[in-house]
């Protein structure tokens, strides 16, 4: 099966001498929902820029559904829809014109483009604002406009660079649902995000890039399974005077009504609650101390820095 994206020994050295990519290799399967994570300046946007031809590569190869960007650039471009990190539309243009013009650049006739614009603007809740200039939209609407614009030529590969940055929770959730739907319909999606919960929830596979090198490339499940333990925070109904023994778990009393419990991988959480009940401890609520992926991410990046 031809990969949706195949990068081999991809290198980028900017004119100022900074090496943004040290020969990375990456493959994304067709139909995948793939996360590309990394700290600021790691090389995520440079990678996306090269694939979408906004950045000239220094070396290596990049193929989109088998089309080499050196020899079949137009065919490769036709496969990609790009949602960049920063707003990059003409703020004075009406919403619907932005979509119809974009479709035109892909050779899609205006009457077809209007139909698609109506469909995607409706799906993303922007149809009522179609005649407004883009500058009149809220931040969340602008993000959704960029997604609609990226989809108007119906690409096989959708690349989203921080698509939910600055978007409120409700809209973020609706965007997640929308992206899940179009992925289920067959569109391959590559997502970069700083919301690691977003990557964990949406993506099946993940690569972590740091200092221009891929430091991890695996499935999300495999990565999460590597966690040796995770920490639960319990809010108690009544103050606790002494810490009871909890066999198999490591407990830490934060204050009178808060406990932190380290849960080893594979441990049965039910036994924890049985033990707590046996000591008359009533739990009001519980939550993960940190996002699991976030812990892994910090661990991977810090380890890399430690060995550099």
């Amino acid at each position: 099966m031809i990969p949706a994206l195949s990068l081999h020994n991809l290198t980028k050295v900017y004119k100022n001498g900074i090496t943004a990519l040290h020969g990375i290799d990456l493959e994304v399967a067709p139909g995948d929902f793939f996360a590309l994570l990394g700290p600021n300046g790691a090389g995520k946007s440079t990678t996306i820029g090269i694939v979408s031809s906004l950045v000239n590569k220094t070396g290596g190869t990049a193929r989109v559904f088998g089309h080499d960007i050196d020899t079949e650039l137009a065919a490769a471009k036709a496969c990609i829809g790009l949602v960049p990190q920063e707003f990059n539309f003409n703020i004075f243009e009406p919403v619907v014109e932005i979509l119809v013009n974009q479709a035109g650049y892909y050779g899609i006739p205006r009457h077809v483009a209007f139909g698609r614009a109506e469909r995607y603007l409706n799906q993303l809740g922007l149809w009522e604002r179609r005649h407004d200039q883009a500058r009149m939209l809220s931040g969340g609407m602008k993000r959704r406009l960029m997604i609609a614009r990226a989809l108007v030529h119906e690409p096989r590969l959708l690349i989203l660079d921080e698509p939910t940055a600055g978007v409120d929770i409700e809209i973020r959730h609706s965007m997640w649902s929308f992206l899940t739907e179009i992925n289920a319909a067959g569109t391959t999606i590559i997502l970069t995000t700083h919301y690691l919960e977003e990557a964990e929830r949406l993506c099946r596979n993940i690569a972590i890039i740091d200092n221009g090198r891929i430091v991890e490339n695996t499935s999300m499940r495999e990565l999460i399974n590597r966690m040796a333990s995770h920490t639960l925070v319990l809010d108690l109904a009544h103050p606790l005077t002494a810490l009871p023994p909890l066999p198999g778990f490591t407990a830490c009393r934060i204050d009178d009504v808060t406990l932190e419990i380290e849960v080893p991988r594979g441990a049965d959480i039910n036994t924890l609650f049985v033990a707590l009940s046996a000591h008359g401890i009533q739990v009001d609520s519980l939550r993960n101390k940190t996002n699991r992926l976030e812990e892994l991410f910090i661990g991977l990046v810090n380890n890399k820095e430690g060995t550099a």
């Binding site: 900017y14 820029g49 979408s52 031809s53 906004l54 950045v55 000239n56 650039l73 137009a74 065919a75 471009k77 036709a78 990609i80 790009l82 960049p84 920063e86 990059n88 539309f89 003409n90 703020i91 004075f92 243009e93 014109e97 932005i98 119809v100 013009n101 974009q102 479709a103 035109g104 650049y105 892909y106 050779g107 899609i108 006739p109 205006r110 614009r149 030529h153």
Partner: protein, 257 residues
């Protein structure tokens, strides 16, 4: 992209460019009409009445071709340089760069927008001129071809300026310090035969002189320069600037990192 898809892409860029200046017609179409009307009132009627005939033609009538062409030059240039730099500044040029539209179509789309504004404003200014003086038409084909070619030439110059520009200052330097002096010294308001011989020779190095006089020939049938030389100069510049602009776009100068 096949031929039909390329045509659709070109049309999309052209429509975008035309709608851009039409949407802000108060900034793009109206000011040149008012400025030209003032030129006619001050230079044509008040000062021109003291100047007398030039080449046997009334002064007001004599300056009409130059004023129309000057407007076409400045508007074609301004349209493309501001639109292209604006697209760079807002980064919406990336909408085209990520699409499979070839660079030569991007170039043609932008200069098409410059041509459209140049001709629209040229027509508007001609209508204004008709309120002040009748405008003869000596040779329609020469007049139209020179107008179109000149507009194309300065649209190309505008896009090159836009490609190199790194700030809004950069897009006003060339029009202010190069284009305006060359236009004013290009025989818009006078015949070079009125100048001392040494200045006549220096004036012949000004390419705008050839365009103004070729257009003047098309309307009035008089010219300070040879028409063949004028066409050769204009077409030569167009070919050279088109090649250079396309080379810059292909290299991604100023638009790809």
């Amino acid at each position: 992209m096949n031929g039909r898809a390329q045509y659709i892409a070109f049309r999309a860029i052209l429509i975008k460019e035309v709608l851009r200046f039409v949407r802000i017609w108060i900034q793009t179409i109206l000011p040149p009409m008012i400025t030209t009307a003032l030129y006619f009132v001050i230079f044509g009627r008040l000062i021109g009445s003291q100047v007398g005939d030039v080449h046997g033609i009334g002064y007001m009538e004599y300056i009409v071709p130059g004023l129309i062409l000057m407007t076409v030059i400045t508007n074609s240039y301004a349209n493309v340089v501001s639109s292209f730099y604006g697209a760079k500044f807002q980064r919406n040029i990336e909408e085209m760069l990520v699409a499979p539209v070839p660079n030569y179509l991007i170039l043609l789309g932008f200069i098409g927008g410059g041509l459209a504004r140049g001709l629209a404003v040229g027509l508007a200014v001609t209508v204004v001129a008709l309120f002040f003086t009748p405008i003869p038409l000596h040779n329609l084909w020469v007049a139209v071809s020179v107008l179109v070619l000149t507009s194309l030439l300065f649209s190309l110059a505008g896009i090159i300026n836009g490609i190199y520009a790194k700030s809004f200052d950069d897009i006003s330097v060339i029009p202010t310090f190069v284009l305006t002096p060359l236009t004013y010294l290009g025989g818009v308001f006078y015949s070079v035969s009125m100048l001392p011989p040494v200045w006549q020779s220096i004036s012949l190095a000004n390419p705008i002189l050839y365009m103004v006089n070729a257009f003047r020939y098309g309307l009035l049938g008089v010219s300070d320069v040879n028409l063949g030389v004028a066409y050769l100069a204009i077409v030569g510049f167009i070919v050279g600037l088109f090649g250079f602009a396309l080379h810059l776009l292909n290299r991604g100068h100023g638009i790809r990192s």
